[in-house]
Every structure is written in structure tokens, then in C-alpha cells.
């Protein structure tokens, strides 16, 4: 049975949507493992002890009926409320985290327990003492709880049972990072000066579990000068960019996905000729960078960025979150956020962080989102393991050991240098989560193994310090022998299910066993010990590690910030106790593409996003989710034909995952670019390019994807469910990169404080680049000798960063000395005119200019119509015969020219 669920409207206040089960089956989140609260009874309606502010944004407290800012320790607090991001407070042995816009009552009950009654928002409360808290009417034992009140009732759960929903609390203990608000910097001399941000408009459209987001920045240049600027935007984690538009001559011009090198080449070619090209490229760490010129004096400049991201799971279903943190010392003139056209947030003069959280109950989302395209059908759905089934629950009662035993395997190979600091931080956090009675073993590995200690050691402060010191003193060098790592870890863990193995490193095997199959086989030595992996850096295959950890009851995380490391450590500390479905995978179906395509571990409380593509008419009615709990193999049916709702973003989500897999498998560049362009999803090999006119796109032979029509019809960019791994977007460019022998220029966007940027050329020469202050790039020129054969060549670039880290990249260029081949014809047109048509032949169509000279002395340039086709209408003088002598000159990107002297008949139309 198919039911259609409408997307609910969401209002600013009240969160009026009721919770409830979906019409087509329940989800694990609906099965209450926690308790509901409503107006807890207190014997004493205030705190006797003093409340202290710890971190985050300031919190307001109510004392003796009056509200005041918590600026110093104060007793007698009866209520607290938070603003901005939220804050962290402490009273005695208890820590209370309040998410932004949350409101709690506090007091104590007759038994002397601290009572926390959540009125609105979200909170987490943790006490060092057992059984000293009351947060719900019927709560279980414990000392760490999560509370959520986004609807009509408060839900509370033990943090240990759903640690993934506590990750927001860790942000509050960290310094504010720039989020959600871009800046446009111009230069005055050596100083970067940000322009005033007049408006920041966020428009969100919820579509089948995804948030299609459009972020519009409006900047203002209040100077008398025409400025050039650099726009930078910190993208949230897990987003997929789908569009870019920029205001040019008072018109919003849409960008186009272009192969990365070509985009850079076109940009470089025209940046000095035209005024308004824009090139959006990834930079490292999830920042977008866009060069903008010109910014007219006393004028506004509008930049629109579109991306999509999955809704986040929460205690009460899902939520949409937008965290906007203005750069220090700046403000946003007007900040507005709309979801499905309903205004959610309106703030003027925003100076501090604004954490907009909008709950979306699970019932409000379609069970299965569907999209039909010409040849294929696409489905997206969220799959949970059937934890509501008795057999699952019975088997999944975790034999949670009283004390944890952890084996830590640290990558000490050369490639670990790049992320050394983060590795150290993560190690410290993981060890910090160990409690008295826990123990750990630690070893480092490259092509040999070095143990920090002999066997397991208690997790004492002294041992933790020794462990950190051990890592700090390591000389990171050599290759990575992952097979030997697994074997050594297995020796320590003895294959026991009460020992967790945690790998920290870049995950790339470069010694000994390097093939996936061999590594899988080696990992079997781990037996029942779950394997978790923190993969740092860009190189490792996500698929490989997803499969390795998925088969071993663990999970893979790719942290690239300290916060993510902290969140991972927090989760790891609790994961061993969580019921889980191991080797969870969808059974393949012939002719049907399914993501994810590698087994994983599905912890209770976690769900799996599944994307399916099948030829038209061949979509199966259901899939089978298979997995294992302990030794028992389980299968459950997943319906694809129930609760189906049409959505506009499913194909893109599928494409995003397909692209990620292609990049992992090092598929041909052309295929990746083609898919990126076809579906409008950014990849590592494409950039978004904005040119000032349609003619400019034609001139540079960039086919338009009718982005404007798509956008208008879709009301938002399209969706991708995939999480693009850190693209490490230090992209270099070479201009021109399709060249004749000559002197091209290489630009490397390495940091200004890099120690050196060295280029090794395929003709054997090595050059040191120099830093151009104005362009903020490293530049080197080189010469290509005229006897260089046609073909593709690679320049190796070595960047030595200021911290000693080495980065290598390769930059291709093509030497082309072949002139294009064309066919030419003349076609008679009405009105005494003739149309000359020139078609470039062959697979490589790189002609950029076609000129003709007619026998009556007229020389003209033909119009490029795309795909190597050029034409122009010409008026012919009277008396012209049926055959015309024409000179045709065709020039390609590398400035090769073909000159044809032809006698052409005038063909009938």
C-alpha cells in the first residue's frame, strides 16, 4: 500500500507537529527506551549549591523570580535558559549542557536527587555520582542523560544507550569556529579587509530526508573604489554542492559544472579580459573559495551557493540545523532562515552565534523517496534494523564488560606525518574516556611494530601520559604494513569480544599485504574483537575500511577536526556496549545498483541510508537486509513499494555516492566528470564556473545544463545523500594546459607560509616556485621545447608546509601540435544569404575559433554552437556563382591552425 505523506509546514514557535509512528512501520526511535517527562515534581524548586558557567555562550538564570546573566557562581537558581549555541554549566558534581534556545527548571526531590525538568529544547545532564539525578518520571539507572523537548513532551534517554545524540554537547566546550557565514575579503595593501555583510538569507526545502539549502550572501562595498575580493564560506560537514550563482550587472547568473582543469584554464584565460568570471573550488577543510571581481563602488554584490545535506537524526526523529557564527568583530545586517518558505528565524544585527534547530519528526518524512528519470528509477530510504523484534533484542543484549579493554594501533608510517597532531589529540581523547578499571595496549606500526608497553596496562593517569609521550617521541617514517598490524592487534586481543581494537592512521596499505582481499583475510584473525578505525587524511579507501570495520562489528570515522575527534572518542567509549547488527548489508539484486555496497555495523539507534537504482520497470518491491548478531545470521525484508513519495533529489543522491565510489576506484576522469555534470553534483574533478554571458559559455564550449530551468522548476538544488570525503582541495592549475611548445605558467595554491613549493617537470627540470602576494599563489614558469611530442604530461608538485608536512600533487598538461580537422559546407539561405557551416571532426574537439575569408574580401569569425560546430550567415553579393572559393582558418586551444583553401558548392537548404 502506498501512502502519500505531505511535508509538514514548520513554524517558528510551538513545534506543532505531533510525534507519532509512521503509517508504514515503526522505527527504532519510536520504541521508547527512555522515559517521558512532563512537569517533574520537586520538593525544593531551586538549587542550593552555586551554579557555575563553564563554557559555550552565556546562560541566563532565574533567581528569586528574577532573570539575570550567569556571570559569577550563584546559588538559588530555579530556571536556566540558553541562547545562541547554548552553554555549559556546573553545579557540584553535575554538569548540565543546554543547547541553544533551551529552557530548564532545576531543583531537588524528596530524596535529595537533583531534578532537571526540561521545558523546551535539548539538554544533557551528567553527574559523577550514581543515582543522583532525576530527569524523567520513569527513568532507568544511570548518571548521564539526554533530554529533548521539541514537541509536546520531554523525552529522556541514557546517553550510554544513544551516544550519537550527545555529540552536540561536545561543541559547547570548544571555541567558536566560523560556521555558516561567509566573508568577502578585499585587500588594502597587505591587509585583508572584509566587506560588510548586509544580508544572509537561507532558504531550505525539505525533500525526502534531505535539506536542499540555498545560502545567499549580500555584501556591500561602501568605498569609492572598484574592488576585487575573495569569498570564503565554511561549508557544514557532509554537504554536497549543487549550484553557484553570482550577481553580474544586476543579474543573477548561474554557474556550470566544468571539469576542474578546464574550469581553471578558462578562468585564467578570461580573468584579465572579462570582468566577472567566478570560479568555485574546494579548499582543504571544507571551505569554499570564490574569487570575485569587480565589486563596484557603492554597490552590493550577491553570491548564492546551493548545497544539500541529509537531515540529522535526533532523539525525536530528525532535525534541521543551521549554525551561523559571525567572524569575530563582525555582524550580519539581517539574518533570515526559511524552511519551505516559512520564516523560521529573523535577526537583525547578528553579532553572536545563532544555532537554528528545527525538529522534523520521522513521521513527517516519506519512508521511501522516489524519482523517475528517463532510463532509470531511483529510490532513497532509511533502513533500521528490526530492534523491535524480540529475537533481535534477546540476542543483542550486549555482554557489556564491566571494564573496557582496548587495543590501540597507531600508524607510524611516513604518511601519518600529515595528521600527526590530530592523531595525538584523538589518542588523548580516546584514552581520556577510559575509566578506572579499564586497560589498554598500545603499539605503533609501519613496517615494524613498536609497543608502548608490554601487553595491557591499567588506564591510569601515569600510563596515559606514557602513552602520549610514546607517540610524541615516535619518528614517523617507513611504509604501512596493515596486514602485520592486524595480526599484531589480533595477538593482543586474542580474538575476544570484550576487547575493542582501534586503528588510528591514514589507512593506506603500502607494504606487505596491499590488496583488499588479502587484508580482509588478515582481519579475520581479530576474531570477535570489534575493529574501529579513525582514518585521517585523504588517501585511504573508504570502501575498504567500511568493509573491514563492518565485518568486524566496528565502524569507520574520518575526523578532520578536533571536535570530530572528540565525538569519535565519545562514541567509541560506548560503542562496545551497544547492541549492533554486524556485517549489515543489502543482498545484491541482479541489474540493480545499491548503495551502500559494503557491509557495515548498524548500532541500535543508527539507521542506514540506502540508495537504489534500477532500470525503468525493474525496481524490486523489496530488498533484504542481512546481518549477524553474535553468531546468528538474520535477514529482514525492506519494502521499496510502501510509503513511496516522489522527490526531486534521489537521482542526485545516488550520483553522489556513485561518484564517491568511482573516485575511490580511480575510475577514468572523463566518466567522473560526465556523471558530475549530468547530475549536477560536485566531484573532486569538477568546479563550478560562472561566466558573464551565455556567449561566453559558448565561446569556451561549455555546454549549459539548463541550470536555470532546473533550478526554477525544482525550487532548490538537487540532493545528494553522500558525504563527500575530505576532498583535500589544494588544486593547482597550469595555464594554458593544452598547449603548443611555449612557456606556460603553473600556479599552486599553497599557503603563503609554506617553506617551499618545488615542481619536477617531465622533461627532467626542477624549479622552485615563488609566492605571488597579489594572487596569493605560488607561481613558476617553464619552457616546453618545440621537439616535445604530443601527449599528456605530468608535473609533480612538492609542497613543504610550515609544519614540515609534505604534500604532493600532480598536474597534467597536454602538448598538442595537431591542427584540427574540419568539414566545411555552404548552405543557401533566403534573402541572398549563405550560411557557412564548419564541423570539427574527430573525438578531440578543441577548436576555439573559426574564421573565413570570402572571395569578395569579407573576413568573418563564425559563431561557436558547441560540440565543434561553427556557423555564420553571410550576405552574398549579386552575381556570385554556384561555387565559392573560401579560405577557412581553424584555430584550436593550443593555437594550432588549419588553413583550408576550398572551392565549395552552395548547397540547397
Amino acid at each position: 500500500m502506498t501512502s502519500i505523506l505531505k511535508t509538514p509546514s514548520i513554524t517558528l514557535l510551538g513545534f506543532a507537529l505531533a510525534m507519532g509512528t509512521s503509517a508504514c512501520g515503526s522505527s527504532s526511535r519510536e520504541r521508547a527506551r527512555g522515559a517521558s517527562t512532563q512537569g517533574l515534581t520537586m520538593s525544593v524548586d531551586h538549587l542550593a549549591e552555586a551554579l557555575v558557567w563553564e563554557s559555550g555562550d552565556p546562560v541566563q538564570v532565574r533567581v528569586a523570580g528574577k532573570w539575570m546573566a550567569l556571570s559569577k557562581p550563584i546559588a538559588g537558581v530555579s530556571e536556566l535558559r540558553s541562547r545562541g549555541r547554548g552553554g555549559v554549566v556546573r553545579v557540584g558534581e553535575t554538569t548540565l549542557w543546554l543547547r541553544g534556545e533551551s529552557h530548564v527548571r532545576v531543583g531537588s526531590d524528596a530524596a535529595g536527587k537533583l531534578v532537571v525538568d526540561l521545558i523546551r529544547g535539548e539538554a544533557r545532564v551528567r553527574s559523577r555520582k550514581d543515582d543522583s539525578l532525576r530527569v524523567g518520571q520513569e527513568q532507568g539507572p544511570g548518571r548521564d542523560f539526554l533530554l529533548s523537548h521539541r514537541g509536546q513532551r520531554t523525552r529522556s534517554v541514557s546517553t550510554e544507550s544513544q551516544p550519537q545524540h550527545a555529540l552536540w554537547s561536545m561543541e559547547l566546550s570548544r571555541p567558536v569556529e566560523a560556521r555558516g557565514i561567509g566573508r568577502l575579503d578585499t585587500k588594502e595593501g597587505e591587509v585583508a579587509v572584509p566587506l560588510e555583510l548586509r544580508k544572509l538569507n537561507i532558504s531550505v526545502h525539505l525533500d525526502g530526508g534531505m535539506a536542499l539549502t540555498e545560502v545567499e550572501h549580500v555584501f556591500y562595498n561602501d568605498s569609492d573604489k572598484v574592488l576585487e575580493g575573495s569569498f570564503r564560506f565554511p561549508a557544514p560537514d557532509g554537504v554536497s554542492v549543487t549550484g553557484l550563482a553570482m550577481e553580474i550587472n544586476n543579474r543573477l547568473v548561474e554557474g556550470e559544472f566544468v571539469e576542474r582543469m578546464k574550469a581553471r584554464q578558462v578562468y585564467e584565460q578570461i580573468v584579465d579580459q572579462m570582468q566577472d568570471p567566478a570560479l568555485l573550488e574546494w579548499q582543504q577543510g571544507g571551505w569554499f573559495k570564490l574569487r570575485v571581481f569587480p565589486i563596484e563602488a557603492h554597490s552590493e554584490k550577491r553570491v548564492v551557493l546551493r548545497y544539500q545535506a541529509p537531515l540529522q537524526e535526533s532523539l525525536e526523529g530528525y532535525e534541521y540545523r543551521y549554525l551561523a557564527t559571525p567572524p569575530e568583530g563582525s555582524q550580519v545586517g539581517l539574518f533570515e532562515l526559511r524552511i519551505d518558505d516559512k520564516l523560521v528565524t529573523h535577526k537583525e544585527g547578528l553579532r553572536s552565534a545563532e544555532d537554528v534547530v528545527v525538529p522534523v519528526p520521522a513521521s513527517a518524512l516519506p519512508r521511501v523517496a522516489a524519482e523517475e528519470r528517463k532510463d532509470y528509477s531511483y529510490r532513497a530510504l532509511t533502513v533500521d534494523a528490526d530492534w523491535w523484534r524480540e529475537e533481535y533484542s534477546r540476542m543483542a543484549v550486549a555482554n557489556a564488560p564491566v571494564h573496557r579493554r582496548v587495543v590501540l594501533a597507531l600508524d607510524s608510517s611516513r604518511s601519518a606525518l600529515e595528521n600527526r597532531e590530530l592523531s595525538l589529540e584523538l589518542l588523548g581523547l580516546v584514552l581520556g574516556e577510559l575509566e578506572p578499571g579499564d586497560s589498554f595496549a598500545l603499539f605503533a606500526h609501519d613496517i615494524a611494530v613498536r609497543e608502548a608497553f608490554m601487553g595491557f596496562q591499567p588506564a591510569s593517569k601515569a600510563n596515559v601520559e606514557r602513552a602520549l609521550g610514546f607517540y610524541r617521541d615516535l619518528e614517523l617514517d617507513g611504509a604501512s604494513d596493515l596486514g602485520a598490524t592486524m595480526q599484531y592487534a589480533a595477538k593482543l586481543s586474542e580474538g575476544r569480544d570484550d576487547v575493542s581494537v582501534i586503528y588510528i592512521g591514514d589507512g593506506t596499505p603500502s607494504w606487505g599485504l596491499t590488496q583488499s582481499a588479502a587484508l580482509h583475510e588478515a582481519s579475520e584473525a581479530l576474531g570477535k574483537s570489534p575493529l574501529f578505525a579513525a582514518i585521517l587524511g585523504r588517501g585511504a579507501s573508504t570502501r575498504l575500511w567500511s568493509a573491514l570495520t563492518g565485518e568486524r562489528g566496528g565502524t569507520i570515522v574520518r575526523p578532520h577536526t578536533g571536535l570530530q575527534a572528540e565525538q569519535m572518542a565519545f562514541f567509541l567509549a560506548r560503542a562496545a556496549q551497544l547492541p549492533r547488527l554486524e556485517e549489515a548489508a543489502l543482498v545484491p539484486v541482479d541489474g540493480v545498483d545499491i548503495f551502500p555496497d559494503a557491509p557495515r555495523t548498524l548500532f541500535e539507534g543508527e539507521s542506514m541510508t540506502v540508495l537504489v537504482r534500477a532500470p525503468q520497470g525493474k525496481m524490486p518491491g523489496s530488498l533484504v537486509l542481512a546481518g549477524r548478531i553474535g553468531k546468528t545470521r538474520l535477514r529482514q525484508s525492506v519494502a521499496l513499494d510502501q510509503g513511496v513519495v516522489a522527490a526531486q533529489s534521489v537521482a542526485q543522491r545516488f550520483a553522489s555516492m556513485a561518484i564517491a565510489r568511482m573516485e575511490d576506484d580511480k575510475a577514468p576522469l572523463e566518466e567522473i566528470v560526465a556523471m558530475s555534470r549530468e547530475f549536477g553534483v560536485q566531484s573532486k574533478h569538477t568546479s563550478l564556473l560562472v561566466l558573464e554571458s551565455e556567449e561566453a559559455y559558448r565561446q569556451h564550449q561549455i555546454a549549459r545544463k539548463e541550470a536555470e530551468e532546473q533550478r526554477l522548476s525544482a525550487n532548490a538544488p538537487q540532493v545528494s545523500g553522500g558525504d563527500l570525503d575530505n576532498l583535500g582541495g589544494q588544486e593547482a592549475s597550469l595555464s594554458p594546459n593544452n598547449i603548443q611548445p611555449g612557456d606556460p605558467e603553473v600556479r599552486i595554491p599553497a599557503p603563503a607560509d609554506a617553506r617551499s613549493v618545488v615542481l619536477v617537470f617531465p622533461f627532467g627540470e626542477t624549479k622552485i616556485a615563488h609566492f605571488d602576494e597579489e594572487d596569493q599563489t605560488w607561481i613558476a614558469r617553464f619552457l616546453i621545447s618545440p621537439d616535445t611530442a604530443d601527449g599528456q604530461y605530468w608535473v609533480r608538485v612538492h609542497i613543504e608546509h610550515s609544519d614540515g608536512r609534505l604534500e604532493e600533487m600532480r598536474l597534467p598538461y597536454t602538448v598538442d601540435t595537431s591542427a584540427p580537422n574540419v568539414s566545411v559546407k555552404l548552405v543557401k539561405k533566403p534573402g541572398g544569404r549563405v550560411q557557412i557551416q564548419v564541423q570539427e571532426l574527430g573525438e578531440l574537439r578543441d577548436a576555439i575559433r573559426v574564421e573565413v575569408h570570402m572571395p569578395w574580401g569579407q573576413s568573418e569569425r563564425l559563431y561557436a554552437k558547441g560540440d565543434g560546430f561553427f556557423r555564420r550567415l553571410l550576405r552574398t553579393p549579386r552575381g556570385i556563382g554556384s561555387t565559392i572559393a573560401v579560405r577557412v582558418v581553424v584555430t584550436d586551444e593550443a593555437l594550432n591552425q588549419r588553413v583550408l583553401e576550398l572551392e565549395l558548392p552552395i548547397e540547397a537548404q
Binding site: L476, A479, G764, D787
Partner: protein
């Protein structure tokens, strides 16, 4: 526009390289046997070799340098001394002398005092390494004709020279006599053809490649790859000692048969035994002893070579040579003749001669050397011009136009009003100021004012050449042909309209009777107007370098990628002019004293008046 380093294609190149040394020089210099004074920059020391007499030879981008026993420079030899190119990549001692591997092949030389004698020369792709197989046959050394000479070439793979025959070790070609002008396989892009060093060890022949790993051939066995290194490894050198055959490469240091060993150094260019310890050198991380053994080493960064022999060690870096004798390191005292080898522009105001480097900024001749002009400009110089009114030096660079006079400097960029900050060409104007060609059009720059040619509406692409004719018209040579702009009148001449055979215009020279246009591939064309139409006459030559056409009285000189040429501007009769230390000639400039400068991509040479034809 890069130096053509191989004997291919054009007739005059073969004449220069394939002839015997004496003949080559006499052809180049006309009838004189005098040699010019050569100015090169002694940088990029790719090789060094201590000699038995205490001297040290060093191969640099500026020639072969001879250092005496006191670490002082004695002489520099270049292509003009019949070496196989000015840029020297490798050195190998043999019983008959020293083999020198350069960018145009290999040569066996001897040094008698300060005189160089080239005993034998083999023209190939750049030779990055050599091995002379002088293994004993019985009790005697093999006679000269029976020696095998292995050349590690960049582009032609590993070559074996036996007697007069040359063959490819890596290919199936039969041995070819050296006398045949056709060389073994044409330059290949394949990584296997980029051989960087060669050595014999334990009876087998080993060679490294840049991108295809390590290869070997044992006696009587087929060629095979050493699988202990990856098949795409970029390896730079081999060095044998009693323990192993050491392999230095991008990923670190290894040994043949054992693969890459743990190393914390990257981009290793070589290794050698110094003071009994293995020392590796890196382009970026200096020199370090293997396994942290204690060896006293200088603090360096960009190192290109290391060698030890005769109890002496030497290290070549990006711009220095270090020598270790008796346990301590000293820097060799070198004196470069110019700050740059790749010279993009040369100009003289009669009293001062300025040189613009491709990526080394501006320098001025002081005494007998060029010294850098200490100004803060982009080092990528494209053109120079002297202001006809105030004598200021105008400098066209990749990131702006600069006007330098008496230690003050003005900068003009797009913000100032130039069509583009990438300035490619200059022409001094009679009224002062310059006509500047940029990547997006041309402009007249005088003082602080800028007037764009064509009012900003002229879309030209890169303007590689500019000139002003007597009628006040501005001529712009671009990649889209030639533009004549006079006021608002714009005329375009190019391939489509039949005046040119190549739209890529690199140089312009205005004469009374016409405009002479030098193009990239289509040679020189003379354009004359008869009042009604423009007539073009092709004058031949080709591969004109930017700004490479000048009238000197009644002589038209062309600086081309294959040398300097002289013509009459009437027909296609061109003659070679004096050569420089490189073939790719960028400027030919008579100075105020009757001498002539020939600037190339490998340095410059000054010919005294008596040597001119």
C-alpha cells in the same frame, strides 16, 4: 621557445652539432677563431666529480666548472667549447679522461691545465648518467674500442655505445653506427625512456628511471624490473659501495633488491659515502647521514648532487658547490657571469646594458659581470625598454609593468588601467613612455597616464609584440594576428586575410619600406602598403622568439629558437650569426662599443668587434 637540445629537424642545427668541434666553431664565428666572453649563471649543480689532481669538476646549468685545489673557480666551459650542451647533468671518470653528460649528449674530455680537449662526442637526448664498462678482460684492461659506454638518457632510454655503434638496451633495435644521422628511438614520453642513472654492480647492469622504477640486466639474462621498487617510482641516482647498490629517489633511499628503506627524507637526488658513512642529499631537505650516523655536513636545503672520489667529497646545490677535503666542508668560490641563464630580454642605453631573466629579475652589467638590480619586482621578466626621454628602464613582467629610474620604481597593473597585469612586450615611444602589450590588449603608458589602444574594445588576446610606425600607427602582434591601430581606425591582418601564414606574431620590426612581422612557426613576413592594399612577402626563417626582430642599419636580425640569423629584409636569404652558449637565442644586441651580445636560454656571449663577420 625553449632550448632545443637535440640534433633534430633543421639543417643548421645539424651543422652546428654534428660537425667536428673546430668546424662548428669556425662556421659559427665566420672566419674568426676568437672565442667570445661567455656569461652564464653557475647554478643547479647536477653533478660534481673530484679528480685525482685535487681539482673538482662540477656540472651546472651554466656550464662545466673547474675548481682548483683551493676551491676556487678556474674556468667554465660551455657548448661554445664543443661540450654537448651548456647544461651539464652528469660526470663520470674513466681511464681516458672524464665523460661529460650534457643536454645534447655525452663527450669524453681531457683537461690539460686550463685547456679543454673534446676527444669524442656522442649526440643524444640529455644524458643524466653514464657508466663506462672497463671490466678487465683477462689481465689487461679492455682496449678503448671494446669498452661499453652506457648512457642514461632522458627520452631515449638507456643506450649502449660500443665502438662506433649505438643501440638501445631497453629496446630491440639492432646496433646502429654512430655515423648515421638517425638516432635510436625518437624522444619518448614513456617513463621507461627517462633514465636517470646507470651503474654496474655485482656483474649486472642497473638503471633508474623517473617514473618506471628500477631495472636491471644480468649478464646473459633479459632485462627485468626490480620489483622491490614500485613500478612508478621516481628514482634519481645509483651509488655503489661495498655493501650495496644504493638507490635514491623521491620516496627516499633504498637498495637494489631490497626496495625502499625507511627514510625521513624526501626527494633524494643522490647518495655517496662521506667519511665512511652513507650520506643522502635531498632537494628540499639538505644532506643527512643515513641512520643518523654522525657526519659533519653543511646546513643546506635544495641539494642536487653528491659524489666522493679520491678522498674528496662534493655536494652540488641549487646555487652552490661544497667540497670536503680532510674532513671539513668549504664552499667553492664561484663567480657567475650573469644572475640568470634563461635570458628573456636585453637592452642597452648606450652606457648601461640591462638583462631581464625569464625568472630571475633584472640585472645590469658592471665591469665584466651582470649583477642583480635590487628592486622589488616580479622576477618573471618578459621585456625591457629604455625610455627615450628620461632614460628610465621599463620592465614588463608577469604581474605588472615597472618603471625604474634612479632607485625609484613605479608599478602599473590592471588597477592602474592596464588591460592586464601580465605585460608581455614593450616598445619605447619617441615622445617618451612605452607602448605595452599585455595578455588582454595594449596600452600607451607615459608617466602616470595610461591610454588603452582601441579604447578597451579591441579583443586581441596576448600581445607578444608592439611597435609604432612613422605614421603614428600602433602595431600589435598577437596570437590572433596583427592589428594596426591608428586613432579609431583598426585594421586586422592575419592568416584568414592572407597576409600571414601564422597568426601567432612574436616580433615586429618597423622599417621605412615596411613592417616586418616575425611569427612563431611561419617565419618572417614583410608587409608593404602600396596605398591601396597591403602586400605580404614571406621571407622564411621561423620560430622567432618574442621581440626577436631588429633592424641594425640595413641588416635584419632575427633571434630564433635555433640561433641568431641575419637577413636582408628582401628575400629569404638568411645567414647564421654568432652562436651563444645555447641554441635558443632570445636577443642579439650590438652594444655601444661595437661588440655584440648574443643572449640565449643558456646564458649570453659577448663578441668583441674583431669577431664580427
Amino acid at each position: 621557445m625553449a632550448a632545443s637540445t637535440q640534433a633534430i629537424g633543421l639543417a643548421w642545427a645539424l651543422l652546428l652539432l654534428a660537425s667536428s668541434p673546430a668546424q662548428a666553431q669556425s662556421q659559427a664565428l665566420g672566419k674568426s677563431q676568437s672565442k667570445p666572453r661567455v656569461h652564464t649563471s653557475l647554478v643547479e649543480f647536477d653533478a660534481c666529480l673530484p679528480l685525482a689532481d685535487g681539482r673538482v669538476l662540477a656540472g651546472s646549468a651554466g656550464g662545466l666548472v673547474v675548481i682548483d685545489g683551493n676551491d676556487r673557480m678556474q674556468r667554465v666551459f660551455t657548448q661554445l667549447d664543443d661540450l654537448p650542451g651548456t647544461r651539464i647533468h652528469s660526470l663520470r671518470a674513466s681511464s681516458e679522461g672524464v665523460w661529460v653528460g650534457g643536454e645534447a649528449g655525452a663527450a669524453l674530455i681531457t683537461l690539460r691545465g686550463s685547456a679543454l680537449q673534446v676527444k669524442r662526442r656522442i649526440d643524444t637526448s640529455p644524458v643524466r648518467g653514464m657508466w663506462i664498462d672497463e671490466r678487465l678482460a683477462g689481465a689487461d684492461e679492455r682496449p678503448a674500442g671494446e669498452k661499453d659506454i652506457y648512457l642514461a638518457t632522458w627520452g631515449q632510454g638507456l643506450l649502449r655505445v660500443h665502438g662506433d655503434a649505438i643501440s638501445s638496451v631497453t629496446g630491440a633495435d639492432a646496433a646502429r653506427p654512430l655515423s648515421q644521422p638517425t638516432l635510436p628511438p625518437a624522444t619518448s614520453n614513456a617513463a621507461t625512456a627517462r633514465v636517470t642513472s646507470v651503474a654496474m654492480h655485482d656483474g649486472a647492469l642497473w638503471w633508474t628511471t623517473a617514473g618506471a622504477g628500477l631495472w636491471m640486466q644480468a649478464a646473459g639474462a633479459p632485462v627485468r624490473r626490480d620489483e622491490s621498487f614500485s613500478d612508478d617510482a621516481v628514482l634519481w641516482s645509483l651509488s655503489a659501495d661495498d655493501t650495496a647498490l644504493w638507490v635514491a629517489g623521491e620516496e627516499g633511499l633504498g637498495q637494489a633488491g631490497r626496495g625502499l628503506l625507511a627514510s625521513s627524507m624526501h626527494s633524494l637526488r643522490g647518495s655517496a659515502n662521506v667519511g665512511g658513512e652513507r650520506v643522502a642529499v635531498s632537494f628540499g631537505a639538505g644532506a643527512r647521514a643515513w641512520r643518523d650516523a654522525h657526519v659533519d655536513l653543511p646546513e643546506l636545503r635544495f641539494v642536487r648532487s653528491i659524489a666522493s672520489a679520491q678522498g674528496v667529497s662534493c655536494i652540488g646545490t641549487q646555487d652552490e658547490l661544497w667540497i670536503r677535503r680532510k674532513g671539513s666542508w668549504d664552499r667553492a668560490q664561484l663567480q657567475s657571469g650573469a644572475p640568470a641563464n634563461d635570458i628573456a630580454a636585453l637592452v642597452s642605453d648606450g652606457t648601461r646594458t640591462y638583462l631581464g631573466g625569464f625568472d630571475k629579475g633584472v640585472s645590469v652589467l658592471q665591469g665584466d659581470r651582470f649583477v642583480p638590480v635590487d628592486i622589488d619586482i616580479d622576477p618573471h621578466v618578459n621585456a625591457l625598454a629604455i625610455d627615450s626621454q628620461d632614460g628610465a628602464l621599463w620592465i614588463a613582467t608577469s604581474t605588472g609593468l615597472f618603471r625604474y629610474r634612479e632607485s625609484s620604481i613605479d608599478r602599473f597593473t590592471k588597477r592602474s588601467g592596464l588591460p592586464s597585469r601580465h605585460v608581455m612586450s614593450l616598445a619605447a615611444l619617441p615622445e617618451g613612455g612605452v607602448l605595452a602589450g599585455t595578455a588582454a590588449g595594449a596600452a600607451i603608458v607615459s608617466g602616470k597616464e595610461i591610454e588603452t589602444i582601441g579604447g578597451g574594445h579591441l579583443v586581441t588576446g596576448n600581445v607578444w609584440a608592439v611597435a609604432r610606425s612613422a605614421d603614428g600607427a600602433n602595431w600589435l602582434g598577437t596570437t590572433r594576428g596583427l592589428y594596426r591601430v591608428r586613432g579609431t581606425e583598426v585594421q586586422h591582418l592575419g592568416v584568414v586575410s592572407g597576409e600571414l601564414s601564422d597568426d601567432w606574431v612574436m616580433a615586429l620590426a618597423i622599417a621605412k619600406d615596411g613592417v616586418f612581422v616575425g611569427t612563431y612557426k611561419g617565419g618572417v613576413v614583410r608587409l608593404r602598403s602600396d596605398g591601396k592594399r597591403i602586400r605580404a612577402t614571406a621571407l622564411g626563417a621561423g620560430w622567432i622568439n618574442p621581440g626577436g626582430l631588429h633592424w641594425d642599419g640595413s641588416i635584419l636580425r632575427a633571434a630564433t629558437m635555433h640561433g641568431a640569423l641575419q637577413g636582408n629584409g628582401v628575400d629569404a636569404d638568411w645567414h647564421d650569426l654568432e652562436p651563444g652558449p645555447g641554441i635558443d637565442t632570445t636577443a642579439y644586441l650590438p652594444d655601444g662599443e661595437g661588440a655584440t651580445w648574443v643572449a640565449t636560454r643558456r646564458g649570453l656571449a659577448r663578441y668583441a668587434p674583431s669577431t664580427q663577420p
